[in-house]
């Protein structure tokens, strides 16, 4: 069993007391024939126990890859090149580094589905079309909870009822294609929660759904979270969903977390220029002002190019020549809110006042190039 590296020990005082997963300096590359793309460039984040962490960002920022990497399911040609993923289960509480387990080895498989489970964006494609919903749910139950087929079926029907299926016995023997999108996502949630995991990684679970269905699914997730007492890592690009669902928010840009704070601070006291621009660029319900939205210039650079300095500098409204384009900013903690950190040169002074040990910020982000 590995422990989280010593460099992070100092961080412990700053961080929340209890976490389920703490990711540090996670790097993932995709090595293709055209070249290497860097999906994650040192992601550090912490998922508090029993709470919901929202991970937001535009497409290509690496938010989904982060979720997959925690389960060691990054599809080839993706490779985790460095970092640690500390996981503390409800029972043992001693952190283990998941990356020390073999990808398909028994320890990792024991964690998947039992302690950490995952649901995906497309309810249409994430259930196997040739097996009944019940078969797929009891498969997980049989694997982690009981060897009894009859008991597994009962539990599966139970959990189907719990996720609000109108007729769980019938749904049990239905095939996925016989259900609507919302129903399928409920079935996926049932499957993911069948073993009462410590953490649910939800990768854009409502993006493909209609608003009214989305609202229902979000309600359901909140209810079940209360009941099971699990944490949720909620990956999404929808800031509305984040505001409604999450306790903590990590904002990602080009494979890094650029700001993490409580949801209140992210929406009412954002620090990073990217977070601010993102919030300003969405049309707000209830304003009906026909004036220009604020825009972020340009678009996310293509994944094969590497930007020097702060990766956001070419699009940043607060760009400081000579600084932002040369040096990768370090993580800075806000003095008045110890869990709020941001990775931006604008707050360098704060970092000096705070005198955060340099080892800490390096261990979180390292100096990019």
């Amino acid at each position: 069993m590995a422990s989280v590296p010593t460099a992070s020990q100092a961080l412990q005082s700053q961080a929340t007391a209890d976490y389920v997963v703490r990711v540090e300096d996670l790097r993932v590359e995709f090595r293709t024939s055209i070249g290497v793309t860097y999906a994650l460039n040192g992601v550090s984040l912490e998922i508090p126990r029993g709470k919901t962490l929202g991970v937001v960002g535009e497409s290509g920022c690496g938010k989904s890859v982060t979720g997959l990497a925690i389960l060691q399911l990054v599809p080839p040609p993706g490779v985790v090149t460095s970092g640690t993923i500390g996981f503390r289960s409800r029972e043992s509480r001693t952190p283990v580094n998941l990356l020390e387990y073999e990808r398909m080895g028994p320890e990792m498989r024991h964690i998947r589905g039992k302690s950490i489970s995952m649901i995906f964006q497309e309810p249409m494609t994430s259930l196997n079309p040739v097996y009944t919903v019940g078969n797929q749910i009891s498969e997980a139950v049989l694997l982690h909870q009981t060897g009894e087929h009859k008991e597994a079926k009962e539990r599966a029907i139970d959990i189907l009822r719990k996720v609000g299926m109108p007729n769980p016995e019938r749904i049990y023997s239905n095939y996925p294609h016989e259900l609507s999108g919302g129903m399928r996502q409920r079935a996926m949630i049932a499957m993911a929660l069948s073993c009462t995991p410590d953490l649910l990684i939800a990768d854009e679970p409502t993006t493909a759904l209609d608003v009214t269905t989305e609202a229902n699914i979000l309600d359901l997730m909140r209810e079940l979270q209360q009941e099971i007492g699990m944490s949720i890592m909620f990956v999404t690009h929808n800031l509305g969903v984040v505001a409604q669902m999450c306790d903590e928010v990590a904002v990602m840009y080009l494979g890094r977390v650029v700001e993490q704070a409580s949801v209140e601070e992210i929406f009412y006291d954002p620090k990073h220029p990217y977070t601010i621009s993102l919030l300003k660029s969405i049309p707000r319900l209830g304003t009906n002002r026909k004036e220009h939205l604020e825009v972020i210039r340009g678009s996310v650079p293509d994944p094969y190019s590497r930007v020097t300095g702060c990766p956001f500098h070419p699009r940043c409204p607060s760009f400081m020549p000579g600084i932002c384009d040369t040096t990768m900013p370090n993580v800075v903690y806000m003095p008045d809110s110890p869990q709020h950190f941001v990775r931006c040169h604008l707050y360098n002074d704060l970092a000096n006042h705070q005198a955060v040990p340099s080892g800490v910020s390096n261990s979180i982000g390292g100096n990019g190039q």
């Binding site: 589905g113 489970s117 494609t125 040739v130 097996y131 997980a140 095939y175 294609h177």
Partner: protein, 327 residues
């Protein structure tokens, strides 16, 4: 489902009707018939064959009628189980075919089973071990397998067997069983001979199917539900065989439509080379000798085999894939 099968059966009848028209027409457009050969034979045997005799022979076989009339006569016979008479063998076509079509079905079905038994595991292995040396080896074998025509493979095997083992691997039975009644020993003897034509017929189909299977599985392995299965904590073996392979089978079943004709064609030509008592040799000699009723009946029999095979394939697909519900 019932509706679907009914409709398919209807289509089948229509298809076979058209096949019979086309086949009948093709086989009949050539001037001359097996009768001329017989007349020559008669002449050689015992001098003159009178004009009247020729005419009566022609009338007996209905050779003076225009093609549509001939066709009509033949079809009305077929409905009553009379497929006409062979000129060359001077025997009812049905008795000539009856004994041989069974072997054709046997060979083609065995070839199909062999194809899938080999292609599926090899394809799965190849796909899950992509870009490894065994995968490249399999790929190379596939190319060669498709490139070697059936009859050549049969020929090569024959030459090889005769050079190395000094044995004749042609035919379906050893000498002593050739005309023996059916016994357990005869069946064993048959199975002992069967594997060579089966492998020969199935070789290129197997190569091709392996490729299809590999490509399908690679597709399926990229699907989200495979990732879901992994996220459940299932072992990779179960992820691949329970969740992925089952889905990769559908396109394979769909390719039966192209696989069956090639197996049946393969059976025809391999039988000629290996001298098997199936439809192949008789069909080709009937074509060459213009033994028209024999030829057309064989053609129809092969078509029926194919059409029924296709229907079974579609039903199999519906059985394997719950999403397919034929209306």
């Amino acid at each position: 489902m019932g509706n679907y099968i009914l409709r398919r059966l209807l289509y089948m009848v229509i298809t076979l009707f058209f096949v019979s028209i086309i086949g009948f027409f093709i086989i009949n457009i050539v001037p001359g018939s097996a009768l001329d050969a017989r007349i020559n034979q008669l002449r050689q045997q015992g001098g003159e064959v009178s004009y009247q005799e020729i005419q009566s022979l022609k009338a007996r076989y209905g050779l003076n009628d225009p093609i549509p009339v001939k066709y009509w006569k033949w079809v009305s016979g077929v409905v009553h189980g009379d497929f006409g008479e062979s000129f060359t063998y001077q025997a009812p076509v049905s008795s000539l075919i009856g004994s041989r079509i069974g072997f054709s079905i046997l060979l083609s079905s065995f070839a199909l089973i062999f194809t899938w038994l080999v292609a599926i595991p090899v394809g799965v292995y190849s796909a899950t071990h992509r870009y490894t040396i065994p995968d490249y080896a399999v790929t190379l074998l596939q190319f060669i397998g498709v490139a070697v025509p059936d009859f050549l493979l049969a020929l090569i095997l024959l030459v090889f067997a005769s050079k190395v083992f000094h044995s004749d691997i042609g035919g379906l039975f050893s000498q002593q069983y050739q005309n023996a009644p059916w016994t357990w020993a005869k069946i064993q003897n048959l199975l002992g001979h069967l594997w060579i034509p089966v492998i020969v017929i199935a070789a290129s189909a197997t190569a091709w199917t392996t490729r299809v299977m590999r490509a399908n599985l690679l597709d399926v392995l990229n699907q989200q539900y495979v990732q879901t299965a992994r996220a459940k904590g299932l072992r990779e073996v179960i992820v691949v065989w329970k969740h992925a392979v089952r889905n990769a089978l559908h396109p394979l079943i769909m390719t039966l439509g192209t696989l069956l004709p090639s197996l049946i064609s393969g059976e025809v030509i391999v039988s000629i080379v290996l001298n098997l008592p199936t439809t192949g040799p008789l069909y080709v000699s009937a074509l060459i000798n213009k033994d028209m009723y024999l030829a057309i009946t064989f053609l129809m029999a092969l078509s029926v085999l194919l059409v029924v095979g296709n229907l079974l394939a579609d039903l199999l697909l519906a059985w394997v894939d719950p999403r397919i519900r034929y209306e």
